[in-house]
């Protein structure tokens, strides 16, 4: 974030600053912790993974001569007896965004060393994530019940089922990993590990609230990917 101070080095804003940071010694991303850079670069790589999935999906969908199922019908839910298009997906989207918001606040309170608030917000995020996964399980079982499989699809093009289960599955996998870590970090926060700068299990580095920001980056990324999946998979 912006207000880093570095002894003997003047931090300038904008592209000028970028040129000077790049030309300086020791670090290129001034004031960004190793762990945070690691998460960013990992996410960049992960972006390419998801992009490749979505690009394959686009290519696959664009080149099929069989009709693609109408997603707003396939993913509609019946409220009473009226089918509401994409209702479940809409709810999932809102749940994920909510959890993203709580995560952002958790990071903020973490930096303010507000241990309690931070912990509760992480817990809230974790529960949001869990709800999302639960709804996804529901959605999957509904589709499977209707006869959609990775290898077949009663509503049209075969690839629909394949891409749907693969992409949402891969995303759901990310969410699940995130949820597990959120619970662990909620525990760590409440236990005060970050105040005590306790070392983690696998690392020689001292702990700190920056770890929550790193986890936050991951969580927001999962949300970010959902934005694209929502637009390309469900709305297309």
């Amino acid at each position: 974030m912006s207000d880093v101070k570095i002894e003997g080095f003047e931090l300038k804003p904008g592209f000028k600053g970028m040129a000077e940071d790049t030309g300086s010694d020791q670090t290129m991303f001034k004031g960004v912790q190793w762990g945070k850079v690691m998460m960013w670069i990992f996410l960049l790589s992960d972006t390419f993974v998801f992009s490749c999935f979505l690009i394959s999906y686009m290519k696959g969908r664009a080149s099929t001569v069989v009709d693609w199922p109408n997603t707003s019908e396939v993913f509609s839910l019946h409220v009473g007896s009226v089918p509401v298009p994409l209702l479940l997906i809409a709810i999932m989207t809102f749940v994920l965004i909510t959890s993203s918001g709580t995560m952002a606040l958790a990071v903020k309170y973490g930096y303010e060393k507000n241990r309690k608030m931070c912990g509760w917000l992480i817990l809230a995020t974790a529960i949001g994530g869990l709800t999302f996964v639960g709804m996804q399980v529901f959605e999957w079982s509904k589709l499977i019940h209707e006869g959609v499989r990775p290898w077949e699809n009663p509503f049209g093009a075969k690839q629909f089922g394949s891409y749907f289960f693969m992409i949402t599955g891969f995303h759901g996998f990310h969410v699940s990993i995130g949820v597990i870590f959120l619970f662990i970090y909620a525990y760590k926060t409440f236990a005060g590990h970050f105040d005590k700068e306790k070392r983690g299990w696998f690392t020689t580095m001292k702990g700190g609230y920056v770890e929550i920001e790193i986890l936050g980056l991951y969580w927001h990324f999962v949300d970010l990917v959902w934005v694209f999946i929502f637009a390309f998979f469900y709305l297309w």
């Binding site: 570095i6 002894e7 003997g8 080095f9 790049t22 030309g23 300086s24 010694d25 020791q26 670090t27 290129m28 991303f29 001034k30 960004v32 190793w34 850079v37 690691m38 670069i41 990992f42 960049l44 790589s45 992960d46 390419f48 993974v49 992009s51 490749c52 999935f53 394959s56 290519k59 696959g60 080149s63 099929t64 001569v65 069989v66 990775p150 290898w151 093009a157 075969k158 690839q159 089922g161 394949s162 891409y163 693969m166 891969f170 070392r199 696998f202 690392t203 020689t204 580095m205 001292k206």
Partner: protein, 613 residues
Amino acid sequence: MSDEYNQQNTPLEAQSSETMSGSSGTPSKDIDYVRPAEIPEQDLYHGHSFITKWVFCQDAKIIGVQYFLTAVFTGVVGLILSWLMRLQLGYPELVPFITAEHYYQFVTMHGMIMVVYFLTALFLGGFGNYLIPLMVGARDMVFPYVNMISFWMFFIAVCVLMASFFVPGGPTGAGWTLYPPQAILPGTPGANMGIILMLISLSLFVIGFTMGGLNYIITILQARTRGMTLMRMPLTIWGIFTATALAMLAFPALLVSCIMMTLDKLLETSFFMPSILQAGEVLSYEGGSPVLFQHLFWFFGHPEVYIVALPAFGIVSDLISVHARKNIFGYRMMVWAIVGIGGLSFFVWAHHMYVSGMNPWFGFFFATTTLIIAVPTALKVYNWIITLFKANIRMNTVMLFCLGFIVTFVNGGITGIFLGNVAVDIPLSDTYFVIAHFHMVMGIAPLMVIMGAVYHWFPLVTGRMLSEKLGKWHFWFTFLGAYSIYFPMHYLGFIGVPRRYFEMYDSPYVTSAVGMNEFITLAALIVGFSQLIFIYNIVTSLKIGKPAGKNPWKANSLEWLTPDVPPTHGNWGEKLPVIYRWPYDFNVPGAKEDYITQTTPPSEVINAEVEKT
């Protein structure tokens, strides 16, 4: 837990002037100023037992050696496979036990092993781990634990790969490009267990590599020592860095295509599989697109070939500069060329697909971008040879290998230009011309660099020199031998001999190739066996080699300047080094000696006309 970490390294204090030797005595407050440390000292985990010290070790240097040895092991497997292939091609009657199935399995495993498990792992995992922390002046990689896991992932990937030799049906024989549909259909050897294990192994490799890659990138960007700006890094580091960045962005495409192909195989999804007729039956697949796989594969595959080329470019620049006792010509240009080649390599992938039946209009785009890449590459070649001009060249083994690299690389690069120009590629594609191209540019050129690098850094790693005499023999056998393997292949390609042919001989128009094939096979066997000289040299020199002492080559870069040689865990003893210049100050006019190390402060070389870097 805390006693496992060394706490004695107190953070460096901010001092306005600090010289490493402090011998000059001149008050050097101003010109020697290097701003204080930004990052605190890194705590390191020191192993106590044999297992934590040598097996599950967190020291990047040891991990580097582990990577190196594992990669060389796979390389030897690849080499043996290449002999078997060559035996079949040269003397088909001699080896009746090699059937077509076997042959294709050999080709596939040979290609995949050599490109991914041998060269990529050797350059990035081996040289990267060993050299990055030393050359940028860090105590270790930034995440030593993750680094260790990275190696073990790679190790498991290699085990899975090797296991595929022993499963029913044998390893996959789909060609290293693994093109579906044939990769997973029964007409191809190893279409069941073989291909699945291959895909799993590749996925593990990607995951393991990602962990390593994060380490390399972040160590280079965020853990340099004081004074080490990006533009003062040795080109070796630039090469490895860019290659790693490429890998981080290119491997995802491989991972995705592996996942999708595994699903096609196991769940019968139809990502890459259209309707297919097998043995008179139409299979359950429908509507997929094989070309999509090729796009994904080459979106990974082309950057991949530069992943193995760029570290070689970097390393060879350093070797040439040290042994020609002259600064590398046009350092800045070299850096930009590396970065430019890296960036451009994401926009040229479909030059492997000119005859794949993709949208034909792509040919224009990809031919243009492909030939654009030739410009920065050409600049690098020019700069290497200009470095030799008016230099003071030590004609030792290392230099010989560097020169060998330039010759083979330029040869291979120019055949690359043939292939990049779409109209010229059409007749040549999928013939032995392509085989000749990439063995020149990837099979031997980087290998020459690896060998040169081993001769160069062996004293650093082990404290002993390799034998020069054996080294020269090794060079001449390898260079002349390899040239006689691949040079005739250009001719085979021009007359149209297709690649991946188990045998050719009932074809009337290629009878002239028979003698040539026998010759190539002989050469391949000789080259292979001459590697025994190398191995003998390494093994004996470990015991009886001349002790190297500090900095035997009189090099400038940091890895030679550690307090202990060979360097120990933590690399730098009490204090991190401070850097004042680029690593190429050789034969600076006015300087006392013909080299000025990176840690020599300006106050000590007041009279020399050093370059401001």
